[in-house]
């Protein structure tokens, strides 16, 4: 998506991977440790940790340490932000139609002034 909001980019990048979506689906049912997350996915703990880091950077998952065990929880707020995608498109299309109007009206209103959409 064409956006200056790098965080939203990270959210979508994080969501683009099926293992990470599976992890999120598991966390939607409740918190889990890294070990609990690794078990059903047939991937190593380091691999799960790597996915979790991507999800953490995107703000989709929060990790807390309890002694030697780290627990993971879903952060629904980041997903809500992804929903603002719709709002992003509204702004996007408003901008495009402004540019289109300037171009089309420039053509008809001032034929000798050249095209304004430069």
């Amino acid at each position: 998506m064409v956006t200056s909001d790098a965080r939203l980019d990270r959210t979508f990048t994080a969501l683009a991977d099926p293992t990470r979506r599976a992890i999120l689906r598991r966390l939607a049912r409740g918190d889990a440790t890294v070990g609990e997350l690794a078990r059903p996915f047939r991937v190593s703990r380091p691999a799960v940790s790597k996915h979790l880091r991507v999800l953490e950077r995107a703000g989709l998952v929060r990790r807390t340490r309890e002694g030697r065990v780290s627990r993971c929880a879903l952060n629904a707020a980041a997903l809500r932000e992804a929903a603002e995608w719709v709002e992003w498109y509204r702004v996007f299309w408003e901008g495009r139609l402004d540019a289109l109007a300037r171009y089309a009206e420039g053509r008809t209103a001032s034929p000798d002034g050249g095209e304004t959409g430069r």
Binding site: P18, A83, V86, D98, L100, G117
Partner: protein, 151 residues
């Protein structure tokens, strides 16, 4: 949570429908307006295969020099009143599944046209805003998209 999310924007423009239809479908016209209004953005390229089932690619370059390509397939072409096409971004991290854009052009007076743009099938994004249950559906749908893409 089965409703399709959509958004609608409109403009009344002092130009005839044919001029506007051409602006959407002719690369020589698109180059004059297809970019962000902000400083540093530029039109990159446009390719248009204007027939039902034909594809388009519209590209702009951001201030950092990255190219963002929007792409899709024409679904309905009624020159000069209606254009329907699928829409998605081409860069893998940007992709979130196929959506549908409808551009309608209606005469609003002499030499004036009302343009109504509808962008729909945001079911994924709408569900993302939902509760845990909606969440699971979103993720499952995303799985389907990825499987379809890899198929």
């Amino acid at each position: 949570m089965t409703t399709t999310h959509s958004l609608r924007v409109s403009r009344t423009i002092r130009a005839d429908a044919e001029t506007l239809f051409r602006a959407w479908t002719d690369p020589d016209a698109l180059r004059h307006w297809w970019r962000m209004n902000e400083e540093g953005w530029a039109f990159a390229f446009a390719s248009v295969d204007l027939r039902v089932g034909g594809r388009y690619r519209l590209a702009m370059t951001d201030p950092a020099g990255r190219t963002h390509v929007a792409t899709g397939e024409y679904r309905q072409i009624d020159r000069p009143t209606r254009l329907v096409f699928t829409w998605d971004w081409e860069n893998p991290p940007d992709r979130v599944g196929e959506t549908l854009v409808t551009v309608e052009l209606r005469a609003a007076g002499p030499g004036t046209t009302e343009l109504v743009l509808t962008h729909e099938r945001f079911a994924d994004a709408a569900r993302i805003a939902g509760h845990e249950n909606g969440w699971t559906q979103v993720l499952t749908r995303l799985d389907h998209h990825v499987m379809e893409e890899n198929a």
